[in-house]
């Protein structure tokens, strides 16, 4: 094999290697029921202070990813608030995580749709990526030990919470 052929072979190999590396790295984060919930300390919304899902270890936590520009999130907010009010005395809470949004819009959303449950704010899509999220809203039920019990990529309503979430919480 001549030096020129070897060089061409190495160049092709480098391009193929780069493409393969890209395909392996571009895949979204996969999370699954039974795995630990992705968690991180985040700024509280509207603040001050910080919070995380781990803060509620020992409780069932319904994590809700939302954004102010998301129309289904507006319809979902009162549903989640009702769920929270019904279940807060039963070792259960809701944690909202605002994603892919700007803070002013997020605050305005919470003024319009006040929630009694804690709200956190993620800058950009950092938390969405951690949850393997493809959009908003998305909901994740976390067991008291911190493992995922249910993943629901879409909005929830009263019927869904009654039929799919409540039986898990009540065991």
């Amino acid at each position: 094999m001549s030096a020129r052929s070897l060089l061409a072979f190495l160049a092709v190999l480098a391009v193929v290697g780069l493409l393969a590396f890209g395909l392996l790295n571009k895949g979204a984060t996969k999370i699954a029921v039974g795995e630990a919930v992705p968690d991180k300390v985040l700024p509280a919304l509207p603040g001050p202070g910080h919070g995380s899902i781990a803060k509620y270890r020992g409780k069932w936590v319904l994590v809700n990813l939302w954004a102010s520009w998301c129309i289904p999130c507006r319809q979902e907010a009162p549903v989640l608030q009702r769920f929270y009010e019904r279940n807060k005395a039963h070792n259960t809470t809701v944690v909202g995580i605002n994603v892919q949004d700007n803070e002013d819009d997020a605050r305005a959303f919470l003024r319009e749709h006040p929630t009694g449950y804690p709200q956190l704010r993620s800058i950009g899509n950092e938390r969405s990526a951690a949850f393997g999220s493809t959009g908003v809203p998305e909901n994740f039920l976390v067991e008291p030990d911190g493992d995922l019990a249910l993943i629901w990529r879409g909005p929830v309503d009263d019927q869904f919470l009654r039929e799919r979430v409540t039986p898990l919480i009540e065991g």
Binding site: L18, F21, G22, N25, K26, A67, S68, W69, C70, I71, Q100, D101, N102, E103, D104, D105, I123, G124, N125, E126
Partner: protein, 158 residues
């Protein structure tokens, strides 16, 4: 007297009125200039091409900052603070996106090496083709030709 008092009051009121007037800082950049250089993170396209609900809110955010007299760099910093670094139309310096920075550097390095080798080969082949002293002596005109060349050269000698 009344007139003088009125004028004095007007003069006193002037600075207060000026201070109360709304100030509009001169824009340092344009909304279009920003939108052409930042991303709609949800859509994965330039903001100027995006029409999603998130893009519309991002455009409002940009417009507010431009109207407040912020520079392009300040607007971009504010966008990163709100939407994360993916809002800039720049690939990440980690994972696969790192190749966007490395590949051009590698390509330039390879091009430099190839060019250096080519120049060396070209110079070496040029030296090999240079005529030797013996070749030059053999090619030199002999006898009658040499005399005629000498005569011609001395005729044009300045």
């Amino acid at each position: 007297m009344k007139r003088a008092l009125l004028i004095a009051l007007c003069l006193l009121a002037l600075p207060a009125a000026a201070a109360a007037a709304p100030t509009h800082p001169a824009p340092q950049t344009t909304v279009n200039a920003i939108e052409a250089e930042v991303m709609c993170p949800i859509c994965g396209t330039l903001l100027e091409l995006a029409e999603s609900p998130q893009a519309r809110r991002e455009k409002v955010f940009v417009a507010k900052l431009v109207a407040a007299g912020k520079s392009k760099a300040e607007v971009k910093d504010a966008l990163v603070a709100q939407y994360g670094p993916s809002v800039l139309a720049l690939p990440k310096a980690s994972g696969f996106d790192l190749s966007a920075y490395l590949v051009p550097i590698l390509a330039i390095a390879i091009a430099v090496v190839v060019l250096a080798f080519s120049v060396l080969r070209w110079r070496r082949s040029g030296r090999d083709n240079e005529p030797s002293a013996a070749d030059a002596a053999a090619d030199a005109p002999q006898g009658e030709d040499a005399e005629r060349l000498e005569a011609d050269l001395s005729r044009y000698d300045l």
